[in-house]
Amino acid sequence: MSALAHPFRPAGANKIDPVLVMLWILLIAVAALWIAPFIFIVFTSLKSNAMVMGTGAFAPPSEADWGNYSRAWARGKFSTTVLNSAIITIIKVPLGLAISAMAAYALSRIQMVGRRIAFLAIVFGTMIPFQVMLAPLFTLVNSLGLINTYVGIILPYLAFGVPYQVFILHGFFRDVPKELSEAALIDGASHFTTFRRIFLPISLPVLAALLILDFVATWNEFAMALVILQDNSKWTLPLGLMSFQSQFSNDYGQLNSAIVMTVLPATIVYLIFQRYFISGLTSGAVKE
């Protein structure tokens, strides 16, 4: 009991703090709220159609029906959509980060005319929701003859992804003591060497956080892919999922298996990098 009581007491206090108790209850409630859909999806993905109809939404499957996964894989053309999503994400995410990091370095560290205006122009990009740009974007990509191509979707993804990454990295690079780049300059480093050997390694936590966010955003992106990738041989996972629902609207087991397979890669990437993600989000919050 004393071990249980510990989280409810402020450090060094004997009495249980009711505010802390309330906070814990709130925390558990919010956590339950967040985890509920995942439990629902995972459980449902393992139920046969009859079991879905016959049991409660959050009841665990009495007998796991793994066949849902193989059937969903085949019917949803996952072999194609996974490949498309993987190609687009694996090219776009590192490329976008590399461009953003270099731009952020240049904008924060290299003295040049018009630096501020260039930065403002890039940051302005974060203010435009891409949904309002979908129609002109389609016209542009179409006129370039890039509809239904990887390049046709990767270029707009880069254009909309780079501004907010530049914004975040610029803030981080600007706070790196200027003596650090001056020391590198005296040591004989060029700007590119300083960027690669000093700035990139020390910004790893931020880069990892951006990588996770960008990976998840790109992997799950739907609207732009829907407009630009019209040929179903070029469909990405979210597009495949959409067709799934209309085609097998009654088969909740298969639909949820498809959802699990869709979100799994993003979850794995998150779990791999989450250590950096947390430190990236809080880096610079306290003086080290």
Binding site: P177, E182, A183, L185, I186, G188, R197, I202
Partner: protein, 353 residues
């Protein structure tokens, strides 16, 4: 090693000129300290020598070369920064060897030179540690190690001890001085701490508002300050300044604005009645004599006693080897050492004698 010549150098930021035609010649192997209050331009001058700031006018020579437009890496200099500027993701050894690595030195050579520098600075046990695992003093030594590994022609130090506590500062002061005596590399060192300047420098350059007020040997600056600013800046506690006029009535003397007469060994010719400022260092006052001062505060430090007092409304400080039993509010008799009295022009602040 090399000499460094700063010749009529100016620096402007837009219309604002912050360095006004400064000239300093530093001979090969010399340890020169640029000292002055915050904003006097000493760090800017050092950064111009390093190549981190451009020069608006004038020339900087390192050795025989004019380096005005050379990038820092081609000037053959090494710099130690106030906040150390160590690469946080590299170990001590990697920090020290980074410059050599960029110059494509062989692994064996890097290791040998890093080891040699680490031996000089007692850093051998820390070579595989990261900067965050070191104390302030150790970090500062790594920063120095990074500089000496390259064997540069000139060392530049920008307030390297300001981030250390008082005790460590005294220790590092001795270490830097010892390092210079051992390596004999030309060194330019910036500080706002006149004690650091006095104790370490072969020569001191006192700066204020972007000009050189006086350059010379530390004790020359102490004994013969060129003007009121240098007189007040060098020495701790600061020199006492009393306003008044010279009176030559047979024997020369100085009379303060409130009519207190102070002794003078001699006066400049034709100076009778000339208004000027009488300067005497706190340590050049002795107990006893005929100058009456009213004690305000007494600060015994054990080895000496500092007495804050007033001559009329003008404040004066005395430092005495003896213990002083006088209470605040009481009168104390003191005598200035006439051979150590300075006179400055009231209008220009320039030294009269």
């Amino acid at each position: 090693m090399a000499s460094v010549d700063v010749d009529k150098v100016r620096k402007s930021y837009g219309p604002l000129e912050v360095i006004h035609s400064v000239s300093v010649n530093i001979v090969d192997g010399e340890f020169v300290i640029l000292v002055g209050p915050s904003g006097c331009g000493k760090s800017t001058l050092l950064r111009m020598i390093a190549g981190l700031e451009s020069i608006t006018a004038g020339d900087i020579r390192i050795g025989e070369r004019i380096v005005n437009h050379l990038p820092p890496k081609d000037r053959d200099i090494a710099m130690v920064f106030q906040n150390y500027a160590l690469y946080p993701h590299k170990t001590v050894a990697e920090n020290m060897g980074f410059a050599l690595k960029l110059r494509h030195a062989s692994k064996a050579e890097i290791e040998t030179r890093v080891r040699r520098a680490a031996e000089i600075l007692d850093l051998i046990p820390y070579l595989s540690r990261y900067p965050r695992q070191l104390s302030g003093g150790q970090r500062q030594r790594v920063a120095m190690g990074r500089a000496i590994v390259r064997d540069p022609k000139v060392f530049l130090f920008d307030e390297p001890l300001s981030n250390l506590d008082a005790k460590l500062r005294v220790q590092m002061r001795a270490e830097i001085k010892e390092l210079h005596q051992r390596l004999k590399t030309t060194t330019i060192y910036v500080t706002h701490d006149q004690v650091e300047a006095m104790t370490m420098a072969d020569r001191i350059v006192v700066m204020r508002d972007g000009i050189v007020e006086q350059a010379g040997l530390p004790l020359d600056l102490y004994d013969q300050p060129a003007n009121l600013f240098v007189a007040g800046f060098i020495g701790s506690p600061s020199m006492n300044f009393l306003k008044g006029a010279i009176r030559v009535n047979g024997k020369p003397s100085f009379v303060t604005e409130d009519g207190v007469t102070l002794p003078l060994a001699s006066a400049p010719a034709g100076a009778d009645g000339r208004p000027c400022i009488y300067g005497v260092r706190p340590e050049h006052l002795t107990l006893g004599g005929d100058v009456k001062v009213e004690v305000s505060v007494i600060e015994p430090t054990g080895s000496e006693t500092q007495v804050f007092a007033k001559i009329g409304p003008q404040k004066i400080v005395g430092v005495f080897r003896e213990r002083v039993s006088t209470k605040p509010g009481e009168t104390l008799l003191v005598t200035p050492n006439v051979d150590a009295v300075h006179l400055f022009d009231s209008a220009t602040g320039a030294r009269l004698q």
